[in-house]
């Protein structure tokens, strides 16, 4: 891990990976979405609205996965003082917030024809909304400092404490009565019919690669801005 503590070494890896993640991600998302929209049968109970699953599930995965990434990067920053951990956490925050918002909006749109309501203040939806507010708070805290190559100690602690919400989101459909279904995909298998399930793999992998490409691009932008600022400061001091 410390081999990539050097930004130059990290950039040597990030530069070729960014377009690969971006192009493969876009191709998989387009293929999975097309398959989900036109190549699968409607669900026997939900009808065509089940097709929203192919974007709603990857968005939920990335919203929660993004905060897991922030929490891990924050621990790495505080414990090992890895110089790129803060850059990574900062870069994850905006796409993480975006995919959490997409999850909430697509879930609401899916809920209207399925449950007859756009919104219900139940455990799953409320805890996911709390995650969006946590992301917004994290972005505000991270931007409160001018430092580009790290986040403050308080921001890193916020990133770790906020992870408490992740198991609450995961278990919310078990702990409380909810309109939201219980987990359909677990380590034990899936309760979704295989003819409906298969396009989910390309969209989940595709959106994950797209997310990774966005994080790499934002890390590269922050590192370049930090380099520029450092040079300007040196020139001003000389």
């Amino acid at each position: 891990m410390h081999a990539y503590a050097n930004p130059a070494r990290f950039l040597k890896l990030a530069r070729p990976l960014t377009p690969v993640f971006l192009i493969v991600g876009i191709a998989l998302v387009l293929f999975g979405s097309f398959a989900g929209l036109f190549m699968t049968p409607p669900d026997y109970l939900q009808g065509d609205s089940v097709r929203i699953m192919y974007i709603h599930v990857p968005a939920a995965w990335l919203g929660m996965g993004g905060w897991s990434g922030i929490a891990i990067a924050s621990i790495v920053q505080l414990v090992w003082r890895h110089p790129l951990a803060g850059v990574a956490a900062r870069a994850i925050a905006v796409p993480g917030a975006l995919f959490t918002a997409i999850c909430l909006v697509t879930g609401s749109i899916w809920g209207r024809p399925t449950w007859g309501t756009w919104w219900e203040w139940d455990g799953r939806m409320t805890s996911m909304l709390v995650l969006l507010f946590l992301y917004i708070g994290y972005v505000a805290l991270a931007n409160a400092s001018d430092e580009r190559t790290s986040v403050s100690r308080a921001t890193a602690i916020f990133g770790i404490v906020g992870a408490v919400n992740l198991p609450i989101i995961n278990r919310s459909v078990v702990w409380w009565n909810s309109l939201h279904q219980k987990s359909s995909i677990t380590l034990k298998g899936s309760t979704i019919a295989p003819e409906l399930l298969w396009p989910l793999a390309p969209t989940v992998i595709g959106f994950t690669l797209l997310f990774a490409a966005v994080v790499l691009m934002r890390m590269r932008a922050n590192l370049a801005e930090a380099k520029l600022e450092a040079r300007m400061r040196r020139m001003a001091a000389a």
């Binding site: 998302v29 979405s33 975006l98 024809p113 966005v214 801005e225």
Partner: protein, 43 residues
Amino acid sequence: MNHWPFIIAAYGLTGLGSVGVVLWSYIAMRKAEKAAGSLERDR
């Protein structure tokens, strides 16, 4: 109830958001790397 307007709205918003964040990040990266590179050449 016809579900397709809901499906189109969900996919449309997801597409807009995804394209938006990719473009924003790409432009910010290109701009920052170009500025850092030009300063390096001027040294």
